[in-house]
């Protein structure tokens, strides 16, 4: 069974290829079968592989499948090879399964779109790239998947390309993540230069042997990889692309946020955890970035009025939790949160998609309301996912994973009370913005009439995900045991925060946020407007609404100078060298073409003169 591993990325890739080449000539039905079927096959195979892996685990706890040697230059021999262990297995199963549900949902959501087959071609390619990234045995193959994911995000965010705004959002996502990718590429050069291999397991082993903890090389390599992870996972300071990525179709947002793309950074850090353990300052930076991002994004989410942007900021914030977990060495907790987050975030986006489609593509939450009775399926599933996101104690999956992260942040040897407190503050914010969203959208008076109810292909995925958003957290102990075969377990500090205390405080924080949202948006709806009305409130609102003015800052710092230079240097200084070369050639051509007179006697004279000159040179030089 394990030999079928290569099919998991290959099938969606083949689907993408067929849809890209023949898509325009395919019927709607065959495009659906091609687009959804390939990912379904991939999900089934990965579940079968997981069953086999769990029933009869390989002796070494991992399985490698080498297909062929990709490049062979001297000692540089990266292979197309897949590496399966507990970490990549969990990621692969979650990614393919959630992707399958999203594809199924898209079949209905995108049914009337002109670019139906194009959409599925991109989506299939997206899944194929992500699975390649997860299963890659060496960092170069991982980088291929990494860039492929970036390309697909660009294509999908700008899917409705007739609107220039969407194209802009696509370019922004591509360019901002490119900043991180460049850092990561340099990191790969550094790793290959100093360790002589890019195979992840060999590399980690070599790093452990050659580098001492805190050595300059280890710090540089880990920091550069962190740069890549920060870009892809939309963490501070490169998080600005993700909210704009909402320009794409809603299933795309679900795919980017839940299954593919943004969790790639978390995976990269978990995969190369040895390097981060060798570089304690960088590992602390991971935790600090995570904590800062989860708070900043939480505040930003509070002020947004576009339902998808609220969810986007909540993703940034939740990935912040994963980074926090990675930073304190709770590798398993980060992956656990990745899994539960994939379930409830996919569900949130898909439920939001139902709402948006039912209301004539209305995104503004202040023009929604009273949808509890109108769209009961969307209401219940959104409520379950929202509770999971906010961490409703004891019932939801999100509570278990987040609780584990919070406790790890407080009790780990690398953690601290400050990080724990930031996490708790994040819980209050998460609960606050989630229930603000729920109260505004589903309660209160009806503001926009519902035009359409979701069909079966949209209902089934949200129901399945709703179940998973609850039961996904009950397997905490077996999950921890399983993931421990691939990742080291948490090293607890003496006298850290106890698990019970952390859980109780987290539960209280959740209640705080819930009551706050209820009080402001349900009990006294005028209070929210009053807060925004006064000058200080308005300034703060604008500040958070614009994502802490980060876009403004980057616009001033980078975008405008670049545009200014481009305008000043319109003639292109460097290009003038080549232009000069070209015109010199043209002049020479014109001079030489004067000799082509067409007169026979001139040619004879040139031949004679040339011969004389040649003989003279031979004789006298």
């Amino acid at each position: 069974m394990l030999e079928l591993l290569w099919l998991v990325p290959a099938i969606p890739f083949a689907g993408a290829l067929v849809l890209a080449v023949l898509g325009a000539r395919m019927s709607h039905k065959s495009a659906t079968i091609m687009g959804v079927g390939t990912v379904a096959a991939s999900a089934i195979i990965s579940i079968l592989i997981a069953a086999e892996f769990l029933n009869s685990p390989p002796a070494t706890g991992m399985y490698t499948q080498t297909l062929w040697t990709w490049i062979d230059v001297g000692s540089f021999r990266p292979q197309i090879a897949f590496y399966l262990d507990a970490l990549s297995l969990v990621m692969m199963v979650v990614v393919t399964f959630v992707s399958f549900l999203i594809h199924l949902y898209s079949a209905e959501f995108m049914r009337t779109d002109e670019g139906y087959s194009r959409f599925f071609a991109y989506m299939n390619l997206f899944v194929a790239c992500m699975v390649t990234l997860l299963l890659a045995d060496n960092l170069l193959l991982l980088y291929l998947g990494w860039e492929g994911v970036g390309l697909c995000s660009y294509l999908l965010i700008g899917f409705w390309y007739q609107d220039p705004v969407n194209g802009r959002a696509g370019r922004k996502a591509f360019i901002v993540t490119r900043v991180g990718d460049t850092a990561m590429a340099i990191g790969l050069f550094l790793l290959f230069h100093s360790l002589g291999t890019l195979r992840i397991q060999d590399l980690l082993h070599a790093a452990q042997v050659q580098w001492s903890t805190g050595s300059a090389y280890a710090i540089a390599a880990a920091a550069l990889l962190l740069g890549g992870a920060v870009g892809k996972s939309a963490q501070l300071p490169l998080q600005t692309w993700l909210p704009d990525a909402m320009a794409g179709p809603t299933p795309t947002s679900a795919l980017i946020h839940a299954a593919t793309m943004v969790t790639a950074g978390v995976y990269l850090i978990a995969r190369t955890h040895v390097l981060f353990e060798l570089a304690p300052p960088v590992q602390f930076a991971v935790a600090a970035i995570g904590a800062a991002t989860l708070l900043m994004a939480g505040f930003s989410a509070l002020t947004q009025n576009d339902i998808k942007r609220v969810l986007a900021y909540s993703t940034v914030s939740q990935i912040g939790y994963m980074f926090l977990a990675l930073g304190v060495g709770a590798w398993g907790a980060a992956i656990f949160h990745f899994m539960t987050h994939a379930f409830f975030k996919a569900l949130l986006f898909l439920a939001a998609g139902i709402i948006i489609e039912s209301l004539h593509h209305e995104h503004n939450i202040f023009r929604m309301g009273g949808l509890r009775k109108e769209l009961p399926i969307a209401f219940w599933t959104f409520l379950i996912a929202g509770c999971s996101l906010a961490g409703l104690p004891l019932i939801t999956a999100g509570y278990y994973s987040k609780d584990l992260i919070l406790w790890s942040a407080g009790s780990s040897a690398a953690g601290s009370t400050a990080l724990w407190a930031a996490g708790i503050a994040g819980v209050v914010l998460t609960s606050l913005y989630t229930f603000r969203l729920i109260f505004l959208v589903f309660f209160g008076p009806v503001r926009t009439l519902v035009s359409r109810r979701p069909g079966l292909a949209m209902t089934i995925p949200v129901c399945v995900l709703a179940v998973l958003s609850i039961v996904g957290g009950f397997d905490k102990a077996p999950f921890a045991r399983f993931i421990a075969t691939a990742l080291p377990t948490l090293s607890e500090a003496v006298g850290g925060i106890t698990e019970t205390l952390s859980s109780i405080v987290a539960a209280l924080a959740f209640l705080c946020g819930l009551l706050g949202a209820w009080f402001v948006y349900q009990r006294n709806p005028t209070l929210a407007t009053a807060m925004v009305e006064n000058p200080a409130g308005r300034a703060l609102h604008r500040f958070w609404f614009s994502d802490w003015a980060m876009d403004w800052l980057y616009d001033r710092l980078f975008v405008r100078p670049v545009i200014w230079i481009a305008r000043v240097n319109k003639a292109d200084l460097v290009d003038s060298i080549y232009d000069g070369l070209a015109s010199l050639t043209a002049i020479c051509y014109r001079v030489l073409s004067l000799t082509e007179t067409g007169k026979l006697r001139w040619y004879a004279a040139w031949i004679a003169g040339g011969t004389v000159a040649f003989v003279a040179i031979v004789m006298f030089l």
Binding site: L592, S593, L594, T595, E596, T597, G598, K599, L600, R601, A604, A605, A608
Partner: protein, 102 residues
């Protein structure tokens, strides 16, 4: 038999060659150009013969025979071209045929 000094022979060959070359360059009538070419070929042939006589080797005369054969071939092709040229342009002026200029 009195040997012609080799220097005199070469001077004569050189003079003939120069005359032929000047003829090729200055005459516009294509017939005269061909004739001048013949003069140049014969000048070269003369140089071979003189050199062959100086060292008592037959090679110079062998080469002259080759030159004669080549000159015959050249004239046959050249005259065919001349006829065609006259047919097309009703003129034997080479400068009239200058349409292939750059």
């Amino acid at each position: 038999m009195e040997m012609v000094p080799i220097r005199d022979g070469f001077i004569l060959a050189g003079a003939l060659f120069a005359l032929g070359l000047i003829g090729v360059l200055v005459r516009r009538n294509v017939i005269f150009i061909l004739m001048s070419l013949e003069v140049m070929l014969n000048a070269a042939g003369l140089a071979f013969v003189v050199a062959g006589a100086r060292w008592g080797q037959p090679d110079g005369q062998v080469v002259f025979l080759f030159i004669l054969a080549m000159a015959a071939a050249e004239v046959s092709v050249g005259l065919a071209l001349v006829l065609e040229l006259y047919h097309q342009y009703k003129s034997l002026d080479t400068d009239a045929v200058s349409r292939m200029k750059g």
